[in-house]
Amino acid sequence: MAADKTSQQYYEDFLKSFRQYQSLVEPFKTKKSQHQAFQSVTTQAELLGVSQELLKAEIKAISDYTHFVKTYLAEATQILNYQENYLYVKLDDEVTFLKLSEQKASSLSSLAEANSLAKDLETHYQRITQMAYQTKSIVEIASAQKIFTNLGVEREKLEKYLSEQDQQGSQFLAAKEKLSALETETKEIKENLSQAESLKRGFGSSGGKNLAEKIRTEIDEALSKIKQVLTGYQNIVFSLK
């Protein structure tokens, strides 16, 4: 059943359908050139036929891509407890549109209809790609936040451990000092994550690609600092063992 597929399976479906779509672009261009040269009923009929095939393949590939994004969001929602579901509903609307478009493509009766359907598809595809970038950013931010929260738990455990020890040797004092020094990076990580979070609010009003890139930069910076803090904690643990 289609509903049971994972996002990766949908992505593999998409790769297959996209390759199929690509294989139909050249035959379409050839028939289009022939029709432009001869303007005959035969060439027009042939062009309509290849346009129909091309549009059907295009819809299938876009549909698989949309399913991939939607399923990826659903999987991440389960893991990351992402609460908002408006994006999921909007992606569902696009899936419905694509189903209707598939029917339209199967019953095309003129080149003008084919042209009009392609333009409709373009508008919807722009929305889908915006939502794809948005999904990517949402998952990246939520994952980084989760990692940061988990790291915070380990910090608390370390603090508890250090406070419970009676020993006041130089090793313990140095460990406490190092733990305290790592607080600077922790604050910077919070800033990066909060910046990514506020950038996320811009989706819908500006370019998805640029916004997703800016968010990724913030996430990468946060992850790099998280790694530094983590190495610091590992060093403390190693010295106390």
Partner: protein, 89 residues
């Protein structure tokens, strides 16, 4: 004639006994006592140390793996499609 035949049979018996004694494998006692294995030849698994520090260490390793998993997912890069079919009549 009968004596000749008898001595031939006797010679055969002697030959048979000689070769049988040659074919016997000498038994050599082993210079050590063979021990029957009662357990696997592998060392027993190392005892896993427990305690808060070991728990923290294990958790930090898991977090490290999570960070490594966060490489940019290129599957989201939207593919290009041909939308301008140029089929205006």
């Amino acid at each position: 004639m009968a004596l000749l035949a008898l001595s031939f049979v006797f010679a055969l018996v002697l030959l048979f006994l000689y070769f049988q004694s040659k074919s016997e494998v000498p038994t050599v006692s082993l210079p050590f006592v063979e021990e029957k294995l009662t357990a696997t030849p592998f060392p027993s698994p190392t005892t896993i140390p427990s305690g808060p520090l070991y728990e923290i260490e294990a958790d930090l390793k898991m977090i490290e793996k999570d960070i490594d998993k966060m490489k940019e997912d290129t599957r989201f890069t939207p593919p290009e499609f041909l939308f301008d079919l140029g089929l205006e009549p």
